[in-house]
Amino acid sequence: MPGARHSRFASLHDVELCSYAATGERRAFGELVRRHGSAVRGVLRRMGAQSSEADDVAQDAFLTAFERIAEFRGEGTFAAWVKKIAARLYLRRLHRDRKLGAMTAEAIEDEPEIPHGDADAAIDLEEALKVLSAVERLCVTMCFGTGLSHSEAAEALNLPLGTVKSHVKRGLEKLRTRLAPEDGVVLEGRRGNG
């Protein structure tokens, strides 16, 4: 009875589900996908992937995670682990499509004027990220969304560490202008719908 099995897995902790998945139990892994699919797809969209592209990469990331589930030691969260896999897969895809070079070499000129956030309104992170350049968006999301360190991000992007730090710094400044124009403004994350 598939329904019964799903409900049995629904009550288990991620680590227990990973143990089941490591024995080849695909339904247990399916429960993990159900729990964390949106988070992984979301982080890819925040990195700049289109919806369909994000979904493809997220699927590949979960399949890779299933293949390598024995490597997951439960030191961090399962979601963070899959997000890192997804981020690296997305970068590989960008590199394959020769988009990564163009992004990282992108001139900083023609920067869009950053609209200041309305202090009375809750600001959507997705909207705020749009004011960042592609490479800033990648760097900020990799460091804050996937939990990669600056050096891990630099390695994955094949960029010098200092360059990544500069992109993150510049990205944060723009986000701060957008999200928290004045100190003390309460940030409220509005859940995006895609």
Binding site: G37, S38, L63
Partner: protein
């Protein structure tokens, strides 16, 4: 300090998963791909087992096993004839010498075992 606060807030914002309307559909697609991969893998393992068995059988055929079995059968028959003179209770030798049936059965089992072992090894990989 304000900078650190902002970074923490940002981390919290990033930690919030967006609510996607097709989350269930996405999970089902991943499960389908997992199932499809598993089925393909099972077919691949099965096919590799059959190929392994066929290769094993062909190797047996090509190594003049027929002649060797006949020679072994003749030798066993000769041995059993001599042996029965020595010990009347040694019927098992005669059983072995009854043509190459036992040897053939053993060879067949060996081929099946080879295929099985290969299947298990690939399955473990």
């Amino acid at each position: 300090m304000a900078e650190l606060d902002f970074e923490r807030r940002l981390e919290r914002l990033f930690a919030e998963a967006p609510e996607l309307p097709d989350a269930g559909f996405f999970a089902e697609r991943v499960e389908r791909r997992l199932d499809a991969g598993w089925t393909a893998r099972r077919w691949l393992i099965g096919a590799a087992g059959v190929v392994g068995g066929v290769i094993g059988a062909s190797q047996l055929m090509l190594s003049n096993v027929f002649e060797r079995v006949e020679t072994a059968g003749d030798s066993a028959r000769l041995l059993s004839t001599s042996f029965t003179h020595v010990s009347a209770g040694a019927d098992w030798v005669a059983a072995v010498s009854n043509g190459g049936t036992v040897v053939w059965v053993a060879a067949g089992l060996a081929v099946i075992m080879m295929g099985f072992v290969l299947t298990r090894v690939i399955g473990e990989i």
